[in-house]
Amino acid sequence: MLKTVLKIEDGDAEEVGAGETAAVLASPAETAADCRSRAGVYRLLSGVFVEEPTGEFIEALRTPAVLAELAEAGLRFDADFLTTPQDMLLEALAIEYTTQFAASGGFPPVESVRLTGRYKQQPNFDTMQTYKRLGFVLQPGRFEVFADQLGIELMFVAELLERGATALEQGDAVTHRRLEKEIKRFWTQHLGRWVRGYSRLIERTAEHSFYREMARFLGGFAAEEIEAMSLRIEDTDQARLEVPKDEIRVEFNPNEPVCNGCMTDALSTTLSAPDNVRRLEEMRGLNKLHDLRDPG
């Protein structure tokens, strides 16, 4: 189970007094629902990058409803994902995952590698400490994973969001606010420094449309989250203010009128509209991310 990767150590978790509450701008219920929706996207992306997808995960993703939602969010999978038989697809994705993320010459989704060029450098220890401080412990899944691996960092935020939602549902706005700050801090110190540039790299280098599109999704979602949290973070992993023209992807037929065809708009809509929040919530329920980490 995903939750077991970042298992809550109750003994270490900070306690917040039951009576402590604070005002929130939106209604607590709406904010809680938003947290859970966001957590769903984090979990989805975590499942994509933490290790090779399982059959259950892919099966859930390839249902017509979810595919339609993902298409609406601007994800354009090719036939290699949409029509390939399940067994062959799993094999192809396992190979692509290895090539991109787990073999020499690839691009490990690990913050230390992205920012310092080497495994197990300062970000690894910093994230580990953060997890510990907030009552989490990293456990091995099917494969060993670094604390600053993309999937784990995303999973961590998902956990905090769900804690925040629970806190709100229990009327504990103080805890929610504290967790929001933790999420912002984590984005500022970690995810925000590398995932946008990294997603562009994977979008460019992926040979399978699943990872290409999920990388696009990650990049768009990261940009949206950063904006929604009003953060100003420089992405040091290839962050460029200007993209050379020859690298710009044409996302629309230039002969057609431009009408909400670009990914950013679609994502923005996806993440803000209540309908889509609900759909993402559903999607979270559909996929079996949790099973990735707990074969037993």
Partner: protein
């Protein structure tokens, strides 16, 4: 009073002759070393870092080192001041060792090939899946013939684990890398005096002859011996003369550099011996007492090797040979050192023996400042141990090379292609012949891509080297900072035991070799019913080390493995003096080495039950334990007859000259005017194939232009930086020229360690490819500063195989080439070898084996030899 007239000439003369007095004069002013090392602090936190002693293993010198760890991460490496050999110093390579652990191209999980071999398509699998698949292949091979399981290793410091593994499987097909290393040096030395290497006492020598060793940069044992060379040269005013085709940094540090034609060092050494014996400068007493020849026999034998004869072959003036021979013989103590220069030729074993005869005939053996035996220490193996395989393996011990005790690994691809031995499973450990061997990709690449010849190929490696990129299954091994390994290396006059210990948790799912091999055996024999599991009874690497070290006498009392974990080395001889850099005893005096090991007398206990033969050999329980000389029972030399064998009778059995001799490389004799000999060499920051991915080292040296002499280059119209085409009989390459006076005019030289096509993004500079333009760390000042675009050109594709028919060594320095300015179709980095041409070279070199048709032609002096049939069924010898 008249003042003495001091000119520069007299000043230098006085300095040279009063060296000993100067050395003994009190020193009240010394360069200050404020810290001895051994501890370190975080610059930000100010907290003392955890210091873990280890033995370095970037190369194979085995320097004592300390890893400083913060947060389970190595942040710094430096020398271990408690280590008697390296005395707190660590070379550039050692300082950069942590790059191996954290390399972003490191293999962290078992990988299974899914495309064609070499296509680069992999699938990550679990250890259980990997072990199950491998066990299946091994089981099938075991059913057919255990010897169809082959293991070839490059660097093996496992302390016996590889042999244990193969013995457990019952396969004798174990092949090493030594024939591309220094095997003919070993085979030249071992039958002569026992061990495979010497320990020159440079620090106390007054005169040193250095034949073809670049000890200040690369050779065995670079760090510890270069310290002693410097001490001898600076503190003891020793003279050092270097014979080398190239002005290496060692040659540059020497008093004299004498350029020799490649492969002719042996002739020069023999001619020096001629001068010494002719002028009666030998140590007759030593020769008569401790060798198996008489002075008269030796004088008679050496008469043929005149300085004029050697001069004609080597290009060294006869008067230079005369002068240096006389200086060497009349300056005491004197020593000699060799490395690949003499040994890496068709008849390298002869060259090595000719060189080592000089300290032997002058009686400089085992004396202070002389030519000493190596000092090492052993350790017991965990019990029980598997027995040796019942059936021999051709690839391990080819019948055509019975004296090559260190094997002939570089001919293995041809023998497999010829069907000499079938292979079902090929396992490789810390090896990369596709890069490091002659023929490189053209030979080994072709072998490994042929799934009929090698049906299943497994690599135990932390990195995707040129070989690993071609395998079917990769098992992720640990780099050296994550391994347990026992160590002892005779790299100074003081013997020691040491360990490598993990300084942090291994990354990802990598497993150290002994654990990996245990897991394979356990998979094959889960319940122990096959009798394999009993030999692999240990919990982890540390447990295995306890079985090695907890009962070593002396060490046991000091604490066994716990002592080694704390200090890294045992014994601790003394304290490092910051003023002198030497290890001193409690009174502050430098610790003294023990000399004259062969003159140790056997005790009464040793002699109890021993028998003394007519020739003085003392035997006990069927084994020679010493030799009687001048009425005393000495331990002698570790040879079969306990003395030095100037005449190696076993060689004569196979039609080789048993006495010191020289054979010129035949194709060097017939070189045309426009032909040159191409040699290779190593720089101080590069080892064989595993340093180009280390940023700190690659930044220092990443390009390898070909050295060419000024006069030769002028004739060819070549200037520094020009592209040149280098053609041998098996291929061609295109590289840049570096024109220099520092090389023999008939030689060109290309440094190795460059021009990788695998081994990660830094070695290949793929991080600069458009697709991967941002594949590296953005915050990292090192990786953001890969400012070079030239990764160099690897020469091995165009180097044909040559095998010394005695020692088995590759003749790295025998390649004849033509060099021209590059043509319009030549591109920098082109490197092409042809399998068919390499195969023809293999067939040619086999003709020099004792079974070949050229053997007798090359040995007219052995006309009375009865031919190969006379020894065909004898078991080979040599090596250890």
């Amino acid at each position: 009073m008249e003042m003495p007239k001091v000119t520069r000439r007299t000043f230098l003369k006085v300095s040279a002759t009063t060296g000993a007095a100067a050395a003994a004069a009190p020193r009240l002013l010394n360069a200050m070393e404020t810290e001895l090392g051994g501890k370190d602090f975080g610059p930000v936190s100010g907290v003392e870092r955890k210091a873990i002693p280890i033995n370095c293993h970037v190369c194979n010198i085995q320097d004592g080192a300390i890893a400083y760890v913060e947060n389970d991460r190595v942040v710094k490496l430096e020398g271990n001041p408690e280590h008697v050999s390296t005395r707190g110093r660590l070379c550039a390579k050692g300082n950069a060792g942590m790059w191996y652990s954290y390399d972003p191209d490191r293999i962290l999980f078992p990988l299974k090939r899914v495309g064609a071999r070499g296509e680069g398509k992999w699938k990550r699998i679990t250890w259980d899946e990997a072990l199950t698949e491998l066990a299946g292949k091994l089981n099938a091979a075991l059913k057919e013939d255990p010897n169809t399981i082959m293991l070839k290793y490059g660097r093996n410091r496992s302390g016996g684990v590889i042999d244990r593994f193969m013995n457990t499987l019952g396969s004798a097909t174990v092949v090493n890398h030594t024939s591309v290393c220094e095997s003919s040096k070993k085979i030249g030395m071992e039958p002569t005096w026992g061990p495979d290497i010497e320990t020159p006492d440079f620090a106390n020598a007054k005169y040193v002859l250095n034949f073809g060793s670049n000890i200040l940069e690369a050779a065995y044992f670079h760090n510890p011996l270069s310290q002693r060379v410097t001490e001898g040269r600076i503190d003891n005013q020793m003279k050092i003369v270097t014979f080398d085709v190239r002005l290496s940094n060692t040659a540059g540090f020497s008093d004299e550099w004498v350029p020799v034609h490649p492969g002719t060092d042996g002739a020069v050494a023999l001619a020096m011996g001629h001068v010494i014996l002719r002028d009666d400068l030998q140590d007759s007493d030593f020769i008569e007492t401790w060798t198996n020849v008489t002075v008269k026999e030796l004088k008679e034998h050496y008469k043929q090797y005149t300085p004029e004869w050697a001069s004609k072959i080597s290009g060294v003036p006869a008067e230079t040979i005369e002068r240096i021979a006389t200086e060497f013989a009349t300056t005491k103590p004197a020593t000699l050192f060799t490395y690949r220069g003499p040994a890496k030729h068709l008849y390298g074993s002869y060259n090595e023996r000719s060189c080592m005869m000089l300290p032997i005939m002058t009686g400089n053996v085992e004396k202070k400042g002389g030519y000493c035996l190596p000092r090492g220490m052993g350790w017991p193996q965990p019990s029980p141990e598997p027995g040796k395989p019942k059936k021999g393996s051709y690839l391990s011990h080819p019948t055509e090379y019975p004296l090559a005790g260190h094997k002939v690994s570089h001919l293995v691809p041809f023998w497999i292609a010829d069907g000499k031995q079938k292979i079902n499973v090929y396992i490789t450990y810390q090896d990369n012949p596709v890069y490091t061997n002659p023929g490189a990709m053209a030979v080994w690449g072709k072998l490994f891509k042929d799934e009929k010849l090698i049906p299943y190929l497994v690599s135990m490696s932390p990195f995707m080297g040129e070989e690993t990129a071609l395998v079917d299954l990769i098992l992720p091994d640990c780099p050296y900072l994550e391994r347990w390994e026992p160590e002892s290396m005779p790299n100074s006059l003081w013997p020691w035991l040491g360990i490598r210990q993990p300084v942090h948790k291994s990354l990802g799912e990598s497993r150290e070799n002994r654990v990996m091999m245990r897991d394979i055996i356990w998979k094959l024999d889960p319940d122990g019913k096959r009798g394999m599991k009993q030999f692999w009874n240990f919990k982890d690497g540390e447990d295995y080390m306890r079985q090695h070290f907890d009962n070593v006498p002396g060490l046991k009392e000091a604490g066994g493995l716990n002592f080694l974990k704390k200090h890294g080395v045992w014994p601790i001889y003394g304290k490092l003096d910051p003023r002198t850099g030497k290890v001193t005893d409690k009174t502050g005096r430098e610790i003294k080495a023990e000399y004259g090991l062969f003159k140790k007398e056997l005790s009464a206990g040793d002699m109890a039950g021993a028998a003394v033969a007519k020739d003085g050999v003392i035997s006990k329980n069927g084994k020679a334990i010493g030799v009687k000389r001048n009425g005393k029972n000495y331990v002698g030399f570790p040879t079969g007859n306990r003395i030095i064998n100037v005449r190696v009778d076993k060689w004569a059995e196979y039609g080789f000259n048993p006495m010191p001799t020289f054979k010129r490389v035949p194709w060097h004799e017939t070189m045309k005017d426009d032909e040159l000999v191409m040699v290779t060499f190593k720089l101080n920051v590069m080892k064989q194939s595993r340093t180009a991915a280390v940023k700190w080292l690659a930044e220092i040296a990443h390009s390898n232009p070909m050295w060419i002499g000024t006069s030769t280059a002028a004739k060819l119209g070549i200037k520094t930086g020009d592209l040149v085409r280098v053609e041998s009989r098996v291929g061609h390459l295109v590289t840049k020229a570096y024109v220099t006076e520092g090389i023999h005019p008939r030689t060109v030289a290309i440094p190795t360690g460059f021009g990788h096509w695998e081994y990660g993004r830094l070695a290949t500079l793929r991080l600069k490819d458009k697709k991967s333009e941002a594949s590296h760390g953005q915050d990292d000042p090192d990786l953001n500063n890969v400012w070079w675009d030239d990764k160099g050109v690897h020469p091995n594709n165009i180097i044909p195989v040559v095998a010394d028919p005695i020692g088995g060594s590759q003749g790295w320095y025998d390649t004849v080439v033509k060099v021209t300015k590059a043509g319009p179709n030549d591109k920098y980095g082109d490197s092409q070898g042809d399998w068919e041409k390499h195969y023809a070279a293999y067939k040619e070199t086999m003709r020099y084996a004792y079974t070949g048709d050229l053997h007798r032609k090359m040995h007219p002096e052995m006309a009375s030899w009865a031919g190969p049939d006379s020894v065909k069924h004898k078991e080979g010898g040599g090596g250890h």
